[in-house]
Symmetry: D2
Subunit: 288 residues, 4 copies
């Protein structure tokens, strides 16, 4: 790894701002574009003409906004992604988050070396921490009881499930974990949770004050929602299409919070630090 | 302890509501007054004429509102405490929270046996749990970083300090505890926190992302506040007059949250359960 | 799953004894053979003539002793595995632990359906708990300092590494975790350990009171051992050939404990319960 | 506090050795006597003639052995305590552990300023850590089950009870705490243990795999011991006369381990560090 990189940070929200600041603090040469309304960004540039000199150009997470253009809430620019990439040189390293097939194709056409940092396992793990904290925050805000002593069911025992269960237990909740695989249930038991087979969940659902879904399938369908106590809170952390039948929940009068993209919302500064770590890992592995 | 008590729950907020419900669910004979606007209270009574039959009359926490009358946010009644006590019989057991000298005198004049449940050690300990959770909630809401990895200083190591430090550490924060007594510092170390002598705090204050004060003295004066980083959050859990020089903090642009009476706010249902436990302990000890 | 199974438990140590007892307590029909010297085994049989009636025959962990015969420390029998299998019928379900290629071939020849429960992920996870406790016990016995405050390095972050790090941290040690993969290091950090890149370990090895190796490669070679403090304890939990250069350690005068097969030694009753769970999972999946 | 003290460390076991080493490493002028057979003690002196120059003379814990003389297992000397004190000057500071009335009187006669460090609260708290670890070690060694999942009852919730319960819970045991006071039970609950009233323990004693007594009264009398399961392990951490009816336990065939003075046995180096801290606190407070 070289001592100093030339990095352009283009577009994005507070996470990109923090990323730019951290890289700058560590002595790298950092330029920013399409972040001009943010406070404290290093070296805001008027255009992308010198971006082709960068060792790496970092696009935001997600790279494209709802309109398909560069995701740049801190900017007046409504830049097309194609235009951004046109400013770069063949072979240049570009890091982007949640790159769409269209973006990948644009990069391929221009012979850019595009890496989607959102695919990196270490970013997913690190992001599970703010996601779990976000779930704790929602539970603290919404429940009229303490988490201490609360009966909590965590559905799914992947990254987010593991760290969410850990935090609720740490706060004194009695945590059960529902999963399909025997090995996941063995893990759950080894960490001190009550293991519940997902297939046999039906009899015990009435026992919970809080259900947190982390599984990417519609686990909480109408039949299961009906078994919950009326004042049970449901937090769904699964990405689209989510794991809860929202219509059924609404008819039953259950409170369901579908919480997406928590890291950038609850801890943007930490999320920026996680981006920085991941970008550095990518560049180290490339020998840049 | 008798199988069934006759208990009157008079005035108060959600905690009193929950207290009444819990006692009712356990088979006691419960009547309520001045809670008529709350949902689901057992046996709302039109007047206090039969209250003199009760084994125990429970007044709220605090017993008196700002205006000195019965604290009764769920009621149209603006009852004088003297009037409430007039309905009772000499020798009757009355439980009240934070009874003022005036209330104690009124009770003495009427030969009532008034017990202030807010003086009970077990209630103070149990209430420290929702207080600590409230501090966690505020920190999660206000900080742009995760508590995981955050550097947290807890000042004071009494009930609230102990349980607050425990929860922040459980969430992955690096917790230091400042106290005066060697024994408190030994406790802090035994629980895995970094002990800091309160007298020698000055050099290290710049290291924290969050300072939670639980000591009942103005520990965070202007000189110490000046040493905090500008984006350090301060949460003051100390009751009046508080432990932070608010004026100095304001001048320095520091964010300070002075959080009082958290249990009733963040977890009224649990706080009602704690009331129930404490009332039962009092009645058990009296042999009622 | 049927209400009652007919199970034969053949040979083995206290774990098999406990397995037989647990299955019996749950209402299954249990017979034992080659456990006759153990106390409290259900239905010890004189020969294997009725074993062919069993729904499942359970051989021990490992199935074969050092001499290649049935591993049966609680028995006078020195039975050949071939002889044991001759008593069974084609198609019968046999569960065995660490089945050798020779045993697999014997079973194949007899058309037995042999399952190696030691290959099951959930058994490996569950066994990591007693392994981790065994490491804690060794550290408590050998170190003249408390684990509270001790500086512990766990090398490797697989099953045993995860649960070992968890327990040392729970006891107040300051735990670092060394691993190769970024994702493992992200996990380590998410659980509150100090992540250390295995490749860059060399500078920091002098800082530890205890090093626990769980990686299956010779991570602690002579060059690294030299950097340890003379009173640093090394516990190697890796199976053969182990992860420590024992010769170099001996020359340096370092204390190294190579601890193998801990579950059966430190918690045979729990290890028997784990066997039971795993056997039941296998039979459930087979629809027996 | 001065930069450098002149300290004499007289007699004692590994703890005194470690104390002397630590003070020496920190730059103090340290002399030792009656430790001549220990390895690595600083400045072993032939006699006490210069001890009167010391800022502080530290006698061991306990100061007197079984024979009433100086407790000095690392020495040939069989010194009378009176003789040791005769070498000192009036007004000199002496620190001793568990000073007997006889020793106090000897010191008074010679106008020495004797402080019993064993009376210091911070030493008692700090020593509760190695005591709790010793209890964990015993349980790991003796129980054939993992502590993970074990049902543990801790009797008493003072210093040792608190830290013992904490460690067993941290290792995954299901911990109940029995105490008399409502406030202690509220603490137990706040830390996540199941609270049990000591008076109402009788019905539930059969549920435990391990009972750890920390209360200084004979809580486990014959009637209660009878209710334990035969394979329940009892660890008594209470000092003389202990909290278990040993005769009754023996008749019932129960395993009882009465573990006294654990800190010096299980973690002498840490216990020496604790002595050092406490001696320093005493000297700081005296303004030496």
């Amino acid at each position: 790894m070289r001592n100093e990189w030339n990095i352009w940070v283009v577009g994005g929200d507070l996470r990109q701002v923090r990323l730019a600041q951290l890289l700058c603090e560590e002595g790298h040469s950092v330029h920013t574009w399409a972040l001009e309304r943010a406070e404290g960004v290093p070296e805001p540039m008027a255009d992308l003409s010198e971006a082709r000199l960068a060792d790496c150009v970092v696009l935001p997470l997600p790279a494209a906004g709802e309109d398909g253009r560069l995701n740049a809430p801190f900017s007046e620019e409504k830049a097309e992604l194609a235009g951004v990439l046109d400013a770069l040189r063949p072979g240049q390293v570009v890091c982007a988050g949640r790159a769409s097939p269209a973006l990948l194709e644009l990069a391929r056409e221009r012979e850019l070396r595009l890496f989607d940092y959102f695919d990196r396992e270490e970013l997913a793990v690190a992001n599970a921490v703010p996601t779990a904290e976000g779930a704790v925050q929602l539970a603290l805000e919404e429940l009229p009881i303490t988490l201490h002593g609360a009966r909590v069911l965590v559905v799914g025992f992947g990254r987010v499930g593991k760290l969410t269960a850990h935090r609720f237990q740490a706060l004194g909740a009695r945590v059960s974990v529902a999963a399909r695989k025997w090995a996941d249930l063995a893990w759950a038991e080894a960490y001190g949770y009550v293991p519940e087979r997902l297939e046999q969940l039906d009899g015990s659902l009435c026992a919970y004050d809080l259900v947190v879904n982390t599984a990417p399938a519609q686990v909480l369908d109408a039949a299961r929602l009906e078994q919950l106590e009326p004042d049970c809170l449901v937090i769904d952390l699964a990405s689209r299409p989510g794991g809860v039948d929202l219509e059924a929940a609404s008819e039953l009068g259950l409170r369901v919070i579908w919480a997406l993209s928590l890291p950038g919302k609850v801890a943007p500064v930490t999320a920026g630090r996680i981006l920085r770590d991941t970008i550095c890992h990518i560049l180290c592995e490339l020998g840049v």
